[in-house]
Symmetry: C2
Subunit: 153 residues, 2 copies
DNA sequence: TAATACTTGACTGTTTTAATAGGAATTAAC
DNA sequence: GTTAATTCCTATTAAAACAGTCAAGTATTA
């Protein structure tokens, strides 16, 4: 049920770009250092995000990346779908990445029935959150005192 | 974001056992055929479910498995957690399988903040569904005409 | 034109996944 | 008490996914 680090890094990178939206481009180097992500790996991920249309790049000296679209138009769901594939917990309930499963009668499968609901909830939680939302949360969290934040350990 | 077939098979097996709760034990063979799961693989999975306390076994001729507890006491969440680990999309928001992530400031991480909500939704959807629920859904689905069921392809 | 930064694609080591295999132990029934 | 059905336990394996690295090259611009 987990996201790979690939997806996590992608979101972290987009958050950085979102926070600087409208300003200059940001280099891989900068994002890599700021977010503690291996540079060479990040390179790949940004490339991937570029091919999905989420970011665009400027080459040459003082080049880098920026969001290709306004942050409020980029949903977490779209990012994760592009990097990781299906949001659904099993592929027989996925809308975009449907695959037949091995169960005897898919149409009457109770597990599928439940998993559809799980999928709905996941999609709901990720479709309605954009990079812009992520940015405003980040700004808000930055101003709050740490003791107000709930640590879960 | 996906469940492995391991988890899926476990649920399918438990559904079969749930539908026969209170009757005799069911053999691996039977479940394997009924649910189209490789026998030797299912063996491992049932063993795993046994160690989690969800099922119990009877050895020897006409041996097999049955639920170790009433179906309404076994939640999907507990099964998936035991077989797959965390329900959370990233481990830094998991309650039981917490692991530190590489982000610079976890307490103020906006992604973590969002993912906590995703986690809540997933947990909510799986904690409140039991094997008993799965069984009643299965029975209901069995009586409904197929054309009433929504195919998602 | 040198430095910076992106591009492309291959490469590698590790871990996970999805099985498969062999044999030991248990039990019901004949 | 032998046999056949069945679970139990421990390995092994083949393939895929994951996480990351590397090299050589192309484009841009100060």
């Amino acid at each position: 049920m987990k996201l790979s680090v690939h997806g996590e890094y992608a979101l972290r990178a987009l958050l950085v770009l979102g926070l600087h939206y409208g300003e200059t481009v940001i280099s891989i180097q900068t994002i890599s250092q700021e977010q503690n992500i291996p540079k060479r790996f990040l390179e790949q991920i940004l490339n991937d995000l570029k091919s999905s249309g989420a970011v665009e790049s400027k080459r040459g000296v003082s080049g880098g990346y920026r969001l290709a679209r306004p942050p409020q138009e980029i949903t977490l769901a779209s990012v994760v779908r592009h990097i990781e594939g299906a949001l659904a917990p099993i592929s027989c309930v996925s809308e975009r990445f449907y695959e037949k499963c091995s169960c005897p009668d898919e149409a009457r499968c109770a597990i599928r029935n439940v998993m559809k609901e799980v999928r709905e909830k996941i999609v709901d939680a990720m479709e309605n959150v954009t990079i812009a939302d992520l940015c405003s949360r980040a700004k808000k969290l930055a101003t709050e005192p740490v003791h107000a934040l709930d640590y879960v350990i």
